[in-house]
Symmetry: D2
Subunit: 163 residues, 4 copies
């Protein structure tokens, strides 16, 4: 998850993260549109042959990025962020640069889903620590560390997918 107009660093992180997740055989889920962190994560994932990318879109038709294999059209606008979160095994935020990403992290913590913050700001880290409840909240300073933490902490061998 991340901004539609992210910083260069978050954009690069998202691309690398998508690639690393797909290399492990995990499905990469994004908000489905072509721009920003969404687009970069899907593009990174599709660098890996046989990968699957899933995009959960706000609209009723169209608008999916070119690297989305399976596009889900919700017609629900931002309420679809709740579906993104429920459908994911782990939520990774490549920066919290806009309110959409913030809502996804908040909904994830509310749903008790594991959240990994990639290079969070101090303000984000501090606020999430205050409100996280029982949800697992991880932090990483690079995509490699993010993927390693997910593997170590969550043991998500079950995320492996094969057609």
């Amino acid at each position: 998850m991340g901004a539609s107009e992210p910083s260069t660093r978050n954009l690069e992180d998202a691309h690398e993260l998508g690639m690393l997740l797909a290399q492990r055989g995990w499905i990469v889920l994004t908000g489905g549109r072509p721009e920003g962190v969404m687009g970069a994560a899907a593009a990174g994932a599709k660098r890996i042959p046989g990968s699957i990318t899933l995009g959960i879109l706000p609209g009723t038709t169209g608008g999916a990025g070119p690297n989305v294999d399976v596009a889900i059209f919700t017609g629900m606008g931002e309420a679809r962020n709740a579906i993104n979160v429920l459908t994911s095994d782990v939520i990774v935020a490549a920066g919290i640069e806009g309110p959409g990403t913030l809502s996804e992290v908040a909904l994830a913590l509310k749903a008790g889903k594991p959240v990994l913050l990639l290079r969070p700001s101090n303000a984000a880290r501090e606020l999430f620590q205050l409100i996280r409840g029982d949800a697992l909240l991880l932090e990483a300073q690079s995509p490699e560390q993010a993927v390693r933490l997910i593997e170590e902490e969550l043991g998500l061998a079950r995320l492996q997918w094969s057609p």
Copy 2:
């Protein structure tokens, strides 16, 4: 789409239909649970190596059938029927035996999506003709005819999927 406790004929139709759709390289989308038409269509599709099945579930976690490759958890109950419809290129109803299937066909016609009724009852055919508006409404008496009609009428080469 179809009932969770269907007639034997509709259950068999759904299984065969799932297989025929997957043979053409199309993604088979169902309501995701293991029972009835949903479960049979997904099972049929997974007889074909390399097929992809998608299940859009009403709940927040769990409950997906064993033949669902990609499970979307909406947490929205029956409102997820609107997502099933928006996400599909064609909606096939293997019988209208319950209100859930009826709502999906109605929402599909409302969204202007092509609908194919497989062996509909006279009452269903008559009511849908009255209210269909501009949506394409097809009818078939067998799964083979259903798939042929979809190919002929809609030319859905674009539905082909490859990882």
Copy 3:
């Protein structure tokens, strides 16, 4: 519930029904837009001083009819029909002239809500009898009979509202 471009009879029925429901102190819920059965039912209800009308809208802002007191903006498109149904104590369909109304009746039966069909077509009556499951399905030939049946069958004194 009813069509946005209904027959004259259904339009008149909706107006009278709205008035009769509001006279009993019940809240009248519609899809919120100004046209057709929605608009007529709300207009009828607002003929009664102190009445409350509720509109549950598909969009994110605007578009509520002039007789809607409380407008709920769902931003969910037709998926909001599921909310209309869950929020109502009884669903009355003033004709089934379009797929939106059909989806609401179907979702109501699925949710086990009482449904009253006002002057249904033979096709609608027949199909709903086939698929209704355990839900209560009533039929009336006039708004007066509809309100009387709701009172007799359901004893909805609890629907009375006072600010």
Copy 4:
């Protein structure tokens, strides 16, 4: 908006805020359940004769607090937070003590709705300033100041309601 298990100060603020809003003839919208900030705001509002309180609930039936006049059942879980936000003219957060409230403020900023933070923590203030985009973000240190700011900044005479 606020926590289901808030601090005493936030609970008292919510009660007073509900009363002050209702005194001005505004409809008070909450998440509908009886506990915490939701319950207190509705209870405060119902101290004022003729007030209207609206509750938008996550479930399909039941669970509304005793001070909710009009209960909307969404059956959508936390995705209903998006509806709370779209339906409100102004969102007031009486503390950000949990992820549900955080998601509502984030969704409000995303939708471009005015948000007022009542006694926010430093972390919340800082994070929202970073991500708020063009949305109006106000801050107050008491319910009285909150209502005064809403009146002054937004001129919400239109929020006045009469049956």
